[in-house]
Amino acid sequence: MSAGATAVPGKSEPAVPGKGTPAVPGVTSVFVRLKLSLLRNGLRQSSGRKAAYIASAVFALLFAALQLIGLVVLRGNEHAVTVVVLLTALVGIGWAVMPLFFPSGDETLDPSRLVMLPLRPRPLIRALLTASLVGIGPLFTFCLALGSVIAVARGAAAAAVGVLAVALTLLLCVALARAVAAANVRLLTSRKGRDLAVLSGLVIAVGIQVVNFGAQRLSSAGGLARLDPVADVLSWVRRRRRSAPWTRWATGRTAVARPSCC
């Protein structure tokens, strides 16, 4: 992969004046600006779509703010840990399934739009991950993660761990969404894949009903206590994951890298 790069400078290069390698030093900043342009251009659509865009953005931000306040209020509550673990797990799952149902939600998620560009995998991963952190979804997740830390962290050491956890949670979420989107581009463009997506859409719809039902049960008095066993299981899963965070992380990154380089 690097051999070709060193072969370039000798020849006359029509595309890249000056030095031919490494192709793009500022690729990360270009991607971030691209993402900002895409967000801003959401406001330049036809009035109907513009209204929907603004409404969903306002709703998401409002929801994020309320959640943040709610989690701050929950500080000191005996069920705070339960709620925090469940919420984070739910958001993680949300990030994983979102790209399957809203592939057009984030256009930079689609590697087929970038496949013609001469981008090397490593800078591309860095650029895409950084650009992924720009947007309403990451902001929402950040509010939630921040609220979770405020709700459960006591003392300086816990706060420090919490800050690290917020960063890792955010990166994990955006990397997960990218990996799922990239891995499924081929699937979602085939007929069999679309059928599968419809089927899993049904499963998700049922799942939303279950969540809805659960929320109703939980809002009754003492309902939160019912969640403790579930949270025990999930927090164990998370602990196991934490035990080897870097190996996990590395595999996650290669998963993001592979589709974009071919």
Binding site: G4, A15, S104, C262
Partner: protein
Amino acid sequence: MRDRTAGPEEAGGAHTAPPAAVRAEGLWKRFGEQIAVAGIDLELPAGKFIGLVGPNGAGKTTTLSMVTGLLRPDAGRVLIGGHDVWRDPVAVKARIGVLPEGLRLFERLSGRELLAYSGRLRGLPGDEVDKRATQLLDVLDLAGAQHKLVVDYSTGMRKKTGLAAALLHNPEVLFLDEPFEGVDPVSAQTIRGVLERYTASGATVVFSSHVMELVESLCDWVAVMAGGQIRAQGTLAEVRGDAPSLQRAFLELVGANGRDSGESLDWLGGGAR
């Protein structure tokens, strides 16, 4: 029109065969049961306007996708300007421009923004990108719509935007998959003019089409595909042979000439019975 290749050959100073811009060796691609491309060898000369022609389902798009690094072949290899497409995709992608069939653009960018970001992601300096984008938008008649979002563009405008993005880095070889499909005659003429100017400078254009008149009037080198194989390749005159037109030569090559629709549709026409 035919003497367009005089320039690069003089520059090369050789009257022997010009070096190949694209060389494909033993390309195979199978989709499930169906063999889309059955072991083709292609040698496309540099500095020519090259047409890849064939009926629907002949494997033209599959071949172009494999040659441009969009689809991995099951077997075989492709060299562009001496670089292996699948060993060193970055070096190849910096040297080629591609206008694929189902073109995917950033829908929520304006035409100008799309070009600006494409050029910058290719590592070109910003002011150079903006200068080239202004000229391309101007020549391709897109200047009036440059601030409209791509999602609101017509088919012809999308093709022209895709072409502009493919030309922005001044590639050595330009690949176009059915560039005139769904494009109105005015836009088609504009695209044609840009492509002719581009090949006149010594660059290579490879495009697929099933419109023979178009290929005959544009190309000086033709490869005929059918059933996943190359049936003929060479200069327009060589492929045409003794046939009166490329259309007739093509029908003979793909074996569709003797087909008689005489009796099987005898109820068709001649008033209701």
